[in-house]
Assembly symmetry: D4
Homo-oligomer: 248 residues x 8
């Protein structure tokens, strides 16, 4: 909290214009609820523009349900990623409004609808096998109110497939490129557009693809400018950042 804001709050308290518990709330700019196994951050939407997202991988179905109950009680929209079908079977017993996206392995519960942007995010993949990561990105972006266009399986081995869809890509406000193996697609697309490109390496490949390290390195070293990169298979992160940019 910066000096000036803080000074003003304190002046208000000193003058009696604010009461103390209000001031504490403002100063902390935080509301959260503590469970045994989690401290749910309810102020994240206010602070970051989006509510806290539940990362499902290291959590039991019961822990996810517990966090969802706190969020539901507070009327916060819910997005859960990396939730297996088995966990969702348990979750839906507790929350009948939960919707599951199987390819994306995402759960959402909508408590208040978000307006959809006119500009769109293009999600481009090199191959068929990159689709689950792409869908995680797409569901994330759509959940946060973005229009999404999918351009799948247009890798550089058959580069005319890419050129055929180039107008859709060039018309986007933000482009997400998702590729495994050598990840060259990001550089090629990056050289053809004038908007931000978020590159997502995937663990598709074998041998020296090293579980996605190779396309990650490719993307970080791209000779095309305007490319930023997220973690391997991090469709969610790409969708989240794309949403931030699309809403600018």
């Amino acid at each position: 909290m910066e000096q000036k804001k803080l000074k003003n709050i304190l002046l208000e308290v000193a003058s009696g214009r604010s009461n103390i518990s209000d001031a504490i709330g403002i100063i902390n700019e935080s509301r959260f609820e503590e469970l045994d196994f989690a401290t749910v951050d309810l102020a994240r939407e206010k602070r970051n523009g989006y509510p806290e997202v539940i990362y499902g991988e290291g959590k039991t179905a019961e822990q996810i349900v517990g966090i969802m109950q706190v969020m539901t009680k507070n009327h916060v929209n819910i997005l859960g990623t990396r939730v297996s079908k088995e966990k969702f079977e348990i979750i839906k017993k507790y929350n009948e409004h939960a919707i599951y996206f199987e390819k994306a392995k995402c759960v959402i519960v909508t408590h208040h609808e978000m307006p959809i942007t006119e500009s769109y995010v293009a999600i481009v993949t090199a191959g068929t096998s990159d689709m689950s990561v792409a869908e995680e990105a797409a569901v994330t972006a759509e959940t946060f109110g973005n229009k999404v266009e999918r351009v799948y399986d247009v890798g550089v081995a058959g580069i005319s497939r890419l050129f055929n869809r180039l107008d859709v890509i060039q018309g986007a406000k933000v482009v997400i490129v998702i590729a495994g193996m050598e990840g060259a697609l990001a550089s090629v697309v990056g050289g053809l557009i004038d908007t931000p490109l978020i590159a997502v390496p995937t663990s598709v490949g074998y041998g020296t693809s090293f579980g996605g390290v190779t396309p990650l390195l490719t993307m970080l070293n791209s000779c095309a400018s305007g490319i930023t990169v997220v973690n391997i298979d991090n469709g969610f992160g790409a969708g989240y950042s794309a949403s931030m940019m699309n809403h600018l």
Copy 2:
């Protein structure tokens, strides 16, 4: 090039409304000039929104001068990065309008002024030693017409330094966080803002910082959302992407 556009061009040629060499130019969407050692891409500004940037590291001063002459002839604004002071001494003999930014190791030649944005890019560093990377980002963004605010040496070891400048950071349209060593600053800032954050790992550190690999990994695995990452010490790439986002 997509089917529809291509069809139209061909129809125009078939009907005689366009002549053939015009059509070739449009189809290629490319203009370039071939030197012995380089193929200068003069259409990049049209295609990508920014002119080609000269990466100075692997090139001799003479090669840089040669490329600059082609660009000057075509009235393209020039930005050269990673140009040592020694190389600049030679360059300025050929081009008196060339200006050198020593901390950033950048050369610029301005042929047409760019309007400055009202919104700004905040450039935040963890330490004093990250400054040359930060200046490369700042000069890049400024050259491309962006207002820039610098917030230097506010690493998490003394986190109140960061909170003291938080209003400047939270007021930015795009934030660049630059950090070496363990790179934790990106996650902390990422948890406090609602705008895109571009993280730049630097090679500042020793031992297991592995020349910047450690902060790179930190930034790729950030628990805060909305962070995308560029190559180690890639101040230029961050400034370039930030400019794209700031102009959205």
Copy 3:
């Protein structure tokens, strides 16, 4: 597409000798069919000399069937690699002409026979465990019309086994050497022949073989000249490149 060819096409259109849709096809040099999950590249045989090959690993049996149906409809020869026996059980229900090579994990459907070369590709392995990679290379090369000679289990621990088969190896137009563990066989064979050698590291080994990284590095650093290398376990890639060379 190069300028001259393009110019000629446009001249033909302008003069009315070609119609527009023909020109589009030629310019794109591409024909493909879009499925929900794949964009099948039907022009690859024309462009690259061989049809698109289906990489089976990240795909469901249903996706493979879908792609095969498009290729069958277009009378393109089909080669599917890394197809498990389980997937093939499903595939053969849809396509009775599909033939499975169990050791190679390959599926082929032949729509038009390819002539067999007189010159041959020698496929040499260091050990018994390298055989499945070798068979992937062999089936690939044979499918593309090459005569193949197999020389298996002649690793350098018993180098006289290699010398005993040296005439077969020296008689080949192209030699593929496949080895795991330390991969030294490639260097030894490379020093004894005057034809191109494609080296394939395999993931056979344990501990510091690092899943094939060790023979890969061995092969890349060979003191013998004339050796080029493909990805770990990439029998297909070796067979494909060998076929290209054998057809020169």
Copy 4:
């Protein structure tokens, strides 16, 4: 064994004040019992302040039981770590006093109670998924007679959660910080306290977290001082060292 001590013992023997077998025991400062598969170190408590701890991972339930029987016979307190529930089912048949901590995967048998410290060890985690490592640390510290305070799920993405519990953390004599993903929490806490901090990287994360290597590197390169680090997921090691420091 240093010269002076040794000299004294030998003088005692030479003068007949000590008998020989006593001298051997003192000189060796060791008592152990040899099983077929293990050499149980019974003097460790005397030498290191704590008894030998059974690392359960590479051992069969039968081997663990065998070692426990030797320790029981010698009235040594038992702590077994990384013991799966399946192994415990077998162990408890042989030792009814064995107690199992499921989240921590620890077995303990108490033969003599240890006094509990007044000062406490704070165990702080970044996320819910770090809990099993945290519990291993907590059970270890508690078994060795330390008061423990748990502060869970206060990672830097929602930094106010941390500030909310800062008084508990700042009141500890030793702090353990446990984090996966990028591990930034260690640096942030390290900048806010004046006591030793033991950082434990966890294998929570995916892609470039590389099974905990990323938070390990983060912690080793922390810009905050006073941080020392243990192996990935080594809750036991952290609890053990924290106990040593808390007892200083």
Copy 5:
């Protein structure tokens, strides 16, 4: 800042007992001074128990002088690490009280004497070449008021050298073990003491010592308990943590 403390401060402000600028200072718990290139953290001693330490490696002599002037003005004790002799030649022109420790590459300026502990820190090295790292640790610990005992060149190749000095090591309150090459000394010492051991890997060695990665890994995987580890060559960090522990 925790809720209760904050509430009290605000109550004091609201009641007029505190004035506003005092409250700001307390809330921030921070005092710092901003230079062009650095934000000097003057509250660190209060917050962390020790003043900010100047890491000299990435800084110019002029920047170091600038930071030292701010600290001197505020009567804070100064410790600068990784300061080359060349930089010190410049520094001493500005600050005649600066003392240089050549083996340790440290600069100190003492504004107020610190009392020396009765208990001591033992600093143990495996070889002669580890001495500069050891001296950095020793100077750091001594500057922060600790008695230090040096036990140098007692590596395990001649293990009786270690046993000869074991009484000094066993008499310490905290032990620092510094070793390059394979770093086995840490495990051996760890098995013989009942106090905290801080292990420092050094970059001494060649080939697969990988600049200190090998002893780092050795120390992280030690079969002896009670060992925590710092970054390669981080003598300062070890001295700092040891001081914290020695003052408990």
Copy 6:
């Protein structure tokens, strides 16, 4: 084959004293039998002093049986390593003389007894979990006619356990040290003996033990001299080399 020997053989052929097929056999110094999947090297015992050993990991039980039948037919002693119990169940149906060592995962068939050495190989392990690697080494050495002494679970965390067995270790002609985790035992033993030491890193450990890479690096960088190293978990290789040395 060296010049002189070759010359003599040729002279014998030229003079008619040898017939041609004999000469070929001698020149090749090789006898082998080709199966579909293997080229069994029957001359290895003559050339290397020991018969070919069957590495069972990448082979099917049927392939192992096939190779064993060729060896049996030629009265060669058989040693098969890394043979799972499941494979042995099949093998013993074909060869009733096959004996299985479960801890070592080795199969042997003895066609002619080997004399046992008077001098012995000491096999020393750091922990209980290293036992299966140790047994592979022991069975290998014993199969090749060496007396073996086992010294298990004497790691450096309780170094007096090692000193207690030092006479057995010091009495050996060759010492094998087997250790996982940090592998420090090799250096300590190496400093106490005057005979060759073969160090075997094992994959015992977790986190940064990296499946045995850490003890491998430790052993390669040992400050003690006279240590040579084999691959991770390569008990066979250590036993084989030790046998060679013990027979010198």
Copy 7:
């Protein structure tokens, strides 16, 4: 040496048609000359199709001169790679026919002219900085009698530069693609041609290009088929293999 050839030679010896020393020479298929520091392989041209090439990097100018003298005496064409200008200054004092290619760092001495092929090798680079590697490949291929076409600085950031030269590339019998940074050019070119492609990663780049490891991995994992790879910066190896293929 294979059985049949050997048999024939021996028959010739037995029948007296060949004398013994001739037979030895043929059997060995080797002629070499031993220097103190080198064993010069004079039969390599006969065995491999090309004479031995002198790798200059680890050798002194004097050693290079020594080897060149042996080769000159035997009228073998000489190619020396990685010869610095300083070394060449010494070499040319001893051999006035030596010609130096500065960009390629190659020395050649031609004793007998080689015929030039009609088909050509295309050498394609991504950037200006890849030129020295490209010239090493070009000089190698030209020295071995190949026609070479250079296509430089056509990286994917400005992909129309590549399409503009595509006819030259598609007209080649073999294509070498040389790229640093992310190396994506190899995949793009590979998707557009039907001839063998040899990919050469270069050490051009910074940060996570890891001295060429990134483009190497990119090229090994290419989604385009028909690509084989050589070591980083190995222009010579690519030129050598390309020559082999061009001569098929």
Copy 8:
């Protein structure tokens, strides 16, 4: 020290047959002299069969001189490795008997001659550039009283060079194989001999040779048995171990 020996010593002391200071010496089995920067181990020859060797790399000439003076005073033979010519210039001022081996970078001072073995150690290198490592091994072995045969530059690219010298190699009691690049020579030689082979990887090579890591991995994964490995460029270690084996 084992129980029985210790018991006997103590009995001797108790009975007055031994005096106490003798007993201390025997128990410690150690004599050393402490300098400021080193603890010289004078008992190593007795314990390990060879005197302590001075590793020169991290030490100043003055420190080396200091250690040499202690050793000279005690009439111990001196071997110093990795001593630069510059350091030797200083050393020889203090010790006129010091002899320098420039290629090996070794210093020796002989106080008592060692008898030379009849059996010999063969030292085999792949290339000319491996010579300095080979000479370090040779000088070490010769200093310790071994007959040495050098077989240089016989790498597998011209394998007949190796066969030509095979009789020398096969006649050795121990073989050292030294190779950089891909290190395949070790496997080939290993398959042709029946004596222990010590493999030394060297840092000769470029790109993916990774400073010797590649030949190290090759050697660790050799398909030939009987090979053990030392650190990269560790000629000394190989010579030392070979000497131990040659003296068995």
